[in-house]
């Protein structure tokens, strides 16, 4: 692997101001080089200047007003510059001062502007997905366009929101869109040219393994959905990519697609060189509630059942927490992390067994969680110091209506939320038990989580407060009303001996730090 990295580094012409690819393979301190901070998806920073003893002194270092729609992206930070996005827009901002370096505006031909998660970086180049499902390569120096390629046709219902993942000389990009019945895919393009290297389709071709989980006598398998709309993770030692896939289509219409509907609502392990499937696990077989399994597959090495294991853990939108062996895909643990009412148990392979009567109905079926999910795209975090997996968990009560009268197409119905509450939960990965619970009250929190070696957990509630909690107990140690809800996931870095925690709140990016008098 080291050889591969060295070889790869030699291929990158110059990254004097760009990203040293070696940074991607280590846990960041002065750099946040990829969506989740590093390949593991733990969202854990080894920084501890800000810690449980001094976090009460946290103060505003700067704020950047983007005058934009809500920031849902996690900025990258490379060589003192932050790069972050909203749909159609990229900003480069000085990470020390919050002053703008450049701004790029893209004119979408169409597509969906629901949100944007951020960008990928390779050497001096940035990779930005667009609402009309293009991939734009920008020069990180000035935001100038190098090239622009179409990933998929927005006229068919595709759009794109995710932050590309860079592995070696592969830019891994996924797509969004479940309003129409289109196939999901993940692909790899060349970072220099944008040329396609491989494409993996969520649905197998008829006759291939997995195709037996779709009906034979219909076009369902070729219209099965399964979007790849969140950034995955990567294990350099095993050289495997881990990706969550979205819900099947038509979304609520299970009878149109009897079977497990592989590889929708799945965690898949792929070879980053070829896109070939190594193994899969399906958290929601035959989903009928929009509970896609795109939540971060978090990677960590730890003891499980008395043995050191290479683990992968996911808190899924359907309300269940899963632990797998990431080398083989072997299932190790399934446990609910919030109250649910849609299963009759767990099957031998560790998959929740869905109750037939809880599929959407013309007269309504009451479910918890609703389609917004027990959790969703906001980042979870794993803290190796506490051994706890943190997740924003929601109690969402919702009534699902199946509305189609003929052949179902698109959503074929929808759920209406009745009541929501949110809580932050610390899960013991070895047992699935909840170690602590921090209630956030009514409303649906969409704030992600960052944990740090300072013993802290940074997140927000749904009432407009930013929070720093004690990672071992869940007790609040710092808070501020930031004037809006955090609908993004926090990140941090240290520059010139000062640690910054950056959080997007609606159209404002806030950087928090200790007072300068305490960091000198």
């Amino acid at each position: 692997m080291r050889l591969a990295l060295a070889l790869f580094a030699a291929l990158v012409p110059s990254y004097a101001q760009g990203l040293d690819p070696a940074a991607l393979a280590k846990t960041p301190t002065d750099t946040w080089p990829t969506y989740n901070g590093d390949y593991s998806g733990r969202r854990y920073s080894p920084l501890k200047q800000i810690n449980t003893f001094n976090v009460a002194s946290l103060t505003l270092a700067w704020a950047f007003q983007a005058n934009s729609v809500a920031i849902k992206s996690t900025p990258l930070e490379v060589n003192g510059i932050l790069y972050f996005t909203v749909p159609d827009h990229v900003w480069a901002v000085d990470a020390r001062t919050g002053r703008q370096v450049w701004h790029y505006h893209y004119n979408s031909a169409g597509g969906d502007h629901i949100g944007h998660r951020g960008i990928g970086m390779w050497g001096n180049w940035l990779y930005f997905e667009t609402p009309d499902a293009h991939l734009v390569c920008l020069d990180a120096k000035d935001g100038r366009v190098r090239w622009n390629i179409e990933l998929a046709d927005y006229k068919l219902g595709y759009f794109a929101t995710m932050a590309p993942l860079i592995v070696g000389n592969h830019v891994i990009v996924g797509v969004s869109g479940d309003v129409t019945d289109i196939p999901g895919f993940l692909e790899s393009v060349d970072p220099e040219t944008g040329k396609l290297q491989w494409r993996w389709y969520t649905e197998p071709k008829p006759g291939e393994p997995g195709s037996e989980t779709w009906p034979k006598d219909s076009d369902a398998i070729s219209h099965g959905g399964g979007m790849t709309w969140m950034t995955g993770t990567y294990d350099p030692a095993l050289h495997l990519l881990y990706w969550g896939t979205g819900n099947p289509n038509p979304v609520l219409a299970g009878d149109a697609r009897p079977g497990d509907n592989l590889y929708t609502c799945s965690i898949v392990a792929l070879d980053p060189e070829t896109g070939k499937l190594a193994w899969y696990f399906q958290p929601s077989p035959h989903d009928t509630h929009d509970w896609d399994a795109v939540q971060t597959p978090v990677l960590f090495d730890a003891d499980f059942g008395g043995k050191p294991r290479r683990l992968l853990a996911q808190a899924a939108r359907n309300g269940f927490f899963f632990v797998l062996d990431r080398a083989t895909g072997e299932h190790l643990l399934t446990a609910p992390f919030i109250e649910t009412n849609w299963t009759s148990g767990i099957d031998q392979r560790g998959r929740p067994i869905a109750l037939r009567e809880k599929e959407p109905r013309p007269d309504g079926a009451l479910l918890f969680p609703g389609s917004d999910g027990a959790t969703n795209w906001m980042s979870p975090s794993f803290d190796p110091d506490t051994g706890l997996f943190y997740v924003v968990a929601r109690r969402i009560y919702s009534i699902f209506y199946y509305t189609a009268t003929g052949k179902p197409e698109g959503w074929a119905g929808r759920d209406h939320d009745l009541y929501e509450e949110s809580t932050i939960r610390a899960i013991d990965y070895r047992t699935g038990k909840i170690r602590w619970n921090h209630e956030l009250g009514p409303a649906e929190s969409v704030a992600g989580i960052l944990s740090t070696a300072g013993g802290l957990l940074f997140t927000g509630d749904a009432q407009g407060n930013l929070l720093a909690l004690d990672a071992s107990s869940g007790k609040t140690l710092w808070h501020v009303n930031a004037g809006g809800s955090m609908v993004s996931s926090p990140m941090c870095y240290q520059l010139d001996g000062r640690q910054y925690v950056v959080e997007g709140v609606q159209g404002v990016l806030y950087a928090w730090a200790l007072p300068e008098s305490m960091t000198k």
Binding site: T180, P362, G364, I399, T405, G410
Partner: protein, 239 residues
């Protein structure tokens, strides 16, 4: 029956061109592509990339006129107007699929009314404890005439109501009550009977909340779907 229902629902929101287009479509195309254009002997046109990429007939019209002889589709020498109407119909069918997640307030009663009104009445007076606060001849008299069916179902599941009534006890023992304005982990705010706003840090006061809607929320973890449908059927009798 099912086919009649589909056609009836199809036409419910169609414009004049779309309705004309549907008649022409059924006559010329429906036999192979299905009467609702979702496919039969020939492919589903709602999901067709060509139909989705079409702009005012620029792709569909030549295809209708020329056919696809290699794939067994004959040419249809139809007048321009007819072709444009068929295009309008197909476009409208695509839009219906695009908006298939809209469950609107005019959702038909027949689809919701699957429960047993008598069992609903028993639940109302028994396990649901609804009669503790509500009366079919009092506050709920004529409720089914007041709300459309879907709204009625969702109102009893998740009623909109006034805010909770809070009573705040300060360190000195003073008590102030009023309607909740804000309540989170750190602060509490209310509006008192005279209309004035007050707020306190949570750690300096005691807060007691009385929420008249709590009983409805508690039911969300207790209802079976049958309870909901029965209760709905009962409330629908209160015209």
């Amino acid at each position: 029956m099912r086919r009649a229902l589909i056609v009836c629902l199809l036409l419910a929101s169609a414009g004049i061109a779309e309705q004309r287009g549907q008649r022409e479509y059924v006559q010329s195309c429906g036999f192979c592509h299905g009467e609702d254009a979702t496919g039969s002997r020939a492919p589903d046109l709602v999901r067709s990339p060509l139909v989705n990429r079409d702009n005012n007939g620029d792709l569909i019209a030549p295809l209708i006129r020329n056919g696809r002889p290699d794939q067994g589709m004959p040419a249809f020498p139809l007048p321009d107007k007819t072709v444009q109407d068929i295009v309008a119909f197909l476009r409208w069918r695509v839009d219906q699929a695009l908006h298939s997640s809209d469950v609107r307030a005019d959702y038909p009663l027949a689809r919701l009314l699957t429960g047993n009104a008598e069992a609903g009445r028993a639940y109302f007076n028994g396990a649901g404890k609804c009669s503790g606060c509500h009366s079919p001849t009092g506050d709920l008299a004529g409720i089914a005439a007041k709300y459309r069916p879907l709204v009625l179902e969702e109102r009893f599941l998740a009623p909109r109501g006034g805010p909770a009534i809070l009573t705040v006890t300060t360190a000195s023992g003073e008590q102030i009550s009023g309607k909740q304005v804000h309540l989170d982990e750190f602060s509490v705010a209310l509006r008192d009977a005279s209309g004035w706003y007050h707020s306190w840090p949570r750690d300096k006061v005691k807060v007691a909340a009385k929420d008249p809607l709590q009983a409805h929320r508690d039911l969300l973890t207790k209802y079976t779907d049958a309870d909901i449908h029965n209760l709905f059927a009962y409330l629908e009798t209160l015209k």
